[in-house]
Amino acid sequence: MADAFTVVFTLAGTLFFLTGSIGLLRFPDLYSRLHALTKADNLGLGLIALGVLAQADGAAFVAKVILVWLVTLATSAVVGHLIARDALPGNPETGVMNDD
């Protein structure tokens, strides 16, 4: 039962990572690429963490897996915003950084 749970959720999570990578390659500009990869980040890792939890032995293992997911949720949101804002045209914080 636990194994079936793990198979379903890790498989779904891996699919998210795969689609995220494909989106990163196929999408035309930085913003749509960020869109593709932040979804893959949050949901893919969440599903994989759920799948891994079914194999857990002990409360410390469970707590750490949940902690990993929460840390990634927070940081990928912040970092996604940082990258997107940095690429805005005429961004006053970056001055004349529109060489790209």
Binding site: T14, F17, G20, L34, I48, V79, G80, D100
Partner: protein, 92 residues
């Protein structure tokens, strides 16, 4: 179960390699950085899978450390772009 988890780990490694293509192509520094961001998360997922496969606490600790350290790279990158005096190489 161990075999299944190894296959999943290999597929994740494949998506990591796919993301590296975008790091190579760019074209903007932001694109490269975004791809590295996805690579970091994929690495965390990979380590989670491996820790489930081995039942090893050390691998899980490594995943936690990677999750905490991965964003530092991007923050340093943005800081260097805001103050170009911090580095010349960020103009590529």
């Amino acid at each position: 179960m161990a075999v299944y988890l190894s296959v999943i780990a290999l597929v994740l490694l494949g998506t990591l390699a796919l993301g590296l293509v975008r790091v190579g192509r760019g074209p903007t520094p932001g694109d490269r950085m975004a791809s590295v961001l996805l690579g970091g998360t994929t690495g965390v997922a990979l380590l989670l899978i491996l820790s489930a496969s081995e039942g090893s606490g050390a691998t899980l600790d490594t995943a936690l450390v990677l999750a905490v350290l991965a964003p530092v790279l991007t923050v340093a990158f943005i800081a260097a772009r805001r103050r170009p005096s911090l580095g010349e190489s960020d103009r590529g």
